[in-house]
Every structure is written in C-alpha cells, then in structure tokens.
Point group: C2
Chain length 84, copies 2
C-alpha cells in the first residue's frame, strides 16, 4: 500500500481571506511578529498499487478533482505506507 | 525572516466526513485503488525572528488558535524564508 501526501495551496497571486483572518487573530493575540499567513489543504491518500504508475494516477486525480488549477497549485510525494 | 510550515490533521480516532466524500468521488471517477482519504490543513506562516525561540511561539499559536487539540494533531517545521 502506498501513502500519498498532497499539498494544495493557493497561487501566489490569489488573495487568501482565510489566511488574512488568521493573521489578524494572531495579531489580536499579540503575536505581532507574524507577517503573513497562507492556508492550504493537506490530503493523505492510501492507494493500492496498480499496473499504472502511481504518480500518473495521482497527477490526474489532482487535476480533475483535488485541486482547482486555475487558482491553486499542488505538490505530492509518494511513500510506502507503514503497515500496522 | 522565518517560514513555518504547519500541518494540522484530524486524530486517527476522529471521523473525517470530508475525506470520505472525496474518496467516494474518486471511486465514482473509477479510481477504485484509493483505499482511504484524510484531509487536513496546511498553513505557511512568515515570522519575524524575536528574542523568544520561534518553536515556542509557534507551539503556543497552534495550541491556542491554529489547531483544536481535542480532535486534531499538529506538526510544524521551521526554515529560513527565501528572500525574493
């Protein structure tokens, strides 16, 4: 079984109101050293290996469903899942 | 300037309906090899160094605001921000 860690983040040029809200809250709590906050998604997928290269499958899933590539970037890394 | 990357994930024992919805969507799109999806948050903070150790500050911010430690775990790493 493979574990895939996906990061979906807003593109640099896109405003992040949720991040701004968190930054303002941190300032209100006296953490004035915080200059910027950007918020994205983090997904962990557990995938059964198949004949198709997993990188290709995950890229397709990101493009089709997990990220909105107009406003978001994605990155992922694949690792062997630790069996419990 | 320091960049802090924070991952906030649901604890193992907590149900993740959003993850289940994404898994079901992926199955509907014929990605049947996906066994499980868990969704968390990913935050990037830009922080001005101060006298206080940054790890201590970030831990406190996570405990107080960024994560709900009853149902969520958090992890973070600190790196030097690349100046542009």
């Amino acid at each position: 079984m493979m574990k895939v860690k996906v990061h979906v983040t807003l593109r640099e040029s896109v405003l992040d109101p949720q991040g701004t809200a968190v930054k303002n809250s941190l300032h209100a709590m006296n953490y004035h050293e915080v200059q910027d906050v950007r918020i994205g998604k983090y997904l962990e997928l557990l995938i059964e290996p198949s004949d198709r290269p997993i990188e290709e499958t995950v890229k397709e899933m990101c493009e089709k469903l997990l990220a909105n590539t107009v406003i978001e970037n994605y990155e992922f890394e694949v690792e062997e899942a630790v069996t419990q």
